[in-house]
């Protein structure tokens, strides 16, 4: 009954890895937009806006991603809204990534010294201008390492999307392990694919970091 782990299975895993990449990509793009908004709200001059962002972060960071995905998929169905799996997964992952990236970037913005704010004020820049030309360019450099660290986590956490019916890399690994009964070989292959994806991310971030440092030095 069992097959032998073969090239065909590796092909199946690689195909599933494309879903992992796509889901992570959606989460990171959606999360960047949402996260930027949350970070701006968090450092806003208006207290109610800061509170809204604070509550959002509390709620989302305090909810396991699995539960977010479950609500986004099954919860909406119970309300009579037909959510395709891709929409549910994208929504759940975006909500999740927005909260964490928002908090990371809030920290980066606040790590820029008070003197920089005072300096830009002295130059006659208003709040949006100070943000745009003085604070954010410096905050980006601070934010790169934690952002990449979180992105790597998103890649691995996208495995939870198997609960909405996605056959992504981890679920494909389980299925192939079931068909071949050679879990060791299968999971080593799965680990190698994750490793390639995550190290590509780290490599890209180092390249980006070098470029940023070069601009800052010139």
């Amino acid at each position: 009954m069992f097959q032998t782990f073969s090239v065909a299975h590796v092909g199946y895993l690689l195909q599933a890895a494309l879903w992992t990449l796509a889901l992570s990509g959606i989460a990171l793009v959606g999360g960047s937009i949402g996260g930027a908004l949350i970070a701006l709200l968090r450092v806003s001059l208006y207290a109610p806006l800061r509170w809204i962002a604070q509550v959002y972060i509390y709620v989302v960071q305090g909810t396991p991603l699995l539960v977010l995905l479950f609500i986004a998929y099954f919860g909406t169905k119970y309300l009579g809204i037909d959510t395709p799996p891709i929409v549910a997964a994208a929504a759940g992952l975006t909500l999740y990534a927005s909260a964490f990236l928002g908090e990371i970037w809030r920290g980066s913005v606040q790590s820029v010294g008070r003197g920089q704010w005072e300096g830009s004020e002295a130059l006659g820049l208003n709040w949006p201008q100070s943000m745009r030309y003085v604070i954010i360019p410096q905050a980006i450099r601070v934010s790169i390492p934690p952002t990449v660290g979180f992105s790597v986590q998103v890649v691995k956490n996208s495995a939870l999307a198997s609960i909405v019916g996605f056959i992504e890399l981890t679920r494909a690994g389980q299925i192939v392990a079931g068909a071949t009964f050679q879990p060791l070989q299968v999971y080593l292959t799965v680990a190698a694919i994750y490793f390639v994806i995550c190290s590509a991310l780290s490599y890209a971030s180092r390249a980006f970091d070098r470029r940023m440092s070069a601009t800052a030095a010139s």
Partner: protein, 259 residues
Amino acid sequence: MRLLKTLMVGAVVLLAAIAPAQAQSLLDEIIQRGTLNVGVSLGTPPFGLIDSSMQPDGFDVELARMLARDLGVQINIVDTVAANRIPSLTSGTVDIVISSFSITAERAKTINFSNTVYVDQQVYVSRSDKPATALADLVGQNVGVTRSSTNDIIMTAKAVEGTNLQRYDDDASTSQALLAGQVDGIVTSGALARAIAERDPGLVTQFVVASAPMSIGVRRGDPDLLHWVNTAIFLLTNNGELPALQEKWMGVSMDLPRF
């Protein structure tokens, strides 16, 4: 307090507004749609797995295809992990679940079970030099089970005190633990035990721990679809297709208990 009441009344009205949309029988809806959505776990051999060309295969998958054929509609297999079988049904993500679905009184509160399609046995498997004839013999031994599967539930309830249960994430890992000698024995499905013995003849089925009748899960409140599924099982049993399917995947065919 009044606000809460208003909200609750609002929710009821909203639900009532949604309900009529689902009043049409799911059976008619499936026929109109032309597709039967079936939840199957593809990581649970020999019930659901992928074949050498990476297509869904197995006892549950073939049974699903027979039902779609008899209904005259296309089949859509949705990979459904064990924990999602009931939410997938109640939320309407799939029409029916055929996924080594053991009938339990607890589950039957939430969904409807059709007549049985297979009676699986949970058996204890170990090396021939480590014999055991009852659960009492397992005291002081390491016994592998698959987390939150039927065998885990049964062993958690029935294991004699002093038995060391080790839980693994999927059937493949549980079997691997036995093959690698990390556990003294495992409790697993009888169908899987036969397949494991094919791979390593030194591993033998020692005794039956429990039997688990399996059936097809249907959403509650849809007697038409439930009755159609039961009719299809009746016909497949009578024309010999269901026994042949059991013989093909499980190596045995059997008389099935009925409601």
